[in-house]
């Protein structure tokens, strides 16, 4: 079968386009990754801690389990309950790599007096606010 020169050129051009497309497909990629530490907190969990002046450290541990961290405060103490969520998004475009990591936490601090009775409770539930984003997007 004979082929004229313009037909041959067209085939070469198509092959070139296909190879560029192939290079793009092979060189590019993206990923989303989520990692969690411990289980999320809900307002109901905070309510289970009980009242200041009435609940003991033993009762708090029985209701919420072992704390993430125990801090000595002179003769008093504080327990930290922590849940963490991290979301990472990455994009690779031939020569450029973009990566964004957002880590947010649920934190509940329970403060005790020297007799291990709850005196104060503070909570921040932000773990659900972790976002997948590109690095040029500012988080609120």
């Amino acid at each position: 079968m004979r082929m004229d020169s313009s037909g041959g050129r067209r085939i070469v051009e198509r092959m070139n386009r296909a190879s560029v497309l192939l290079v793009c497909l092979l060189s590019s990629g993206c990923f989303l990754q989520r990692s969690l530490v411990d289980r999320p907190f809900a307002e109901a969990d905070v309510a289970r801690i009980g009242n200041a002046g009435a609940t003991t450290a033993k009762e708090v541990v029985a209701r919420l389990g072992a704390p993430t961290e125990v801090v000595q405060l002179g003769r008093r103490s504080a327990y930290l309950y922590l849940h963490e969520q991290e979301k990472t998004a990455g994009l690779f475009l031939l020569v450029a790599a973009f990566n964004n990591r957002d880590r947010q936490t649920d934190r509940v601090w329970v403060f005790f007096d020297e007799h291990d009775v709850v005196t104060h409770v503070g909570r921040t539930l932000q773990a659900q606010g972790a976002e997948y984003a590109m690095p040029w997007v500012a988080h609120d």
């Binding site: 503070g122 909570r123 606010g129």
Partner: protein, 146 residues
Amino acid sequence: MRAPALLALLALSSSCVSASWNRATWQRPAARDVVAGLPRSGIGLQECLDLLGAPTLVFEHRVHGLTLAYAWVQDRRFGGTVSVPLGDRESASFSYATARAGAYALVLWLDESWVLEDWREGRLGSLIGEEPPRPATLEEIELTRR
């Protein structure tokens, strides 16, 4: 046509030219209006917790007092590398990177009755040191008994 295309492909291949843009965020700073309305001193621990939520760090302040740190990290890094083969065994490369990194915090100090003494905002390291202080020993606690 083939030579420029080959050169462009070489330049675009990640072993010759690469760029990166990374961002890492940990926690969010306290809302500006809340910080603006925070009294300089005199309010109790529960009021601080109700206003600002749970801190990220808690440790002793002068044995019986409290330090609460509301820390956040906003890390941004840009980088680029250019590598040019000069011969069979040599190549030259140039890298550039810029970073705006660091942990910031709103730090509150409460006295031994857990009443706010003072607060400041800034770089976490300059406010509380690179490492949180060690807990007081039993002797220190007894010596400074409330």
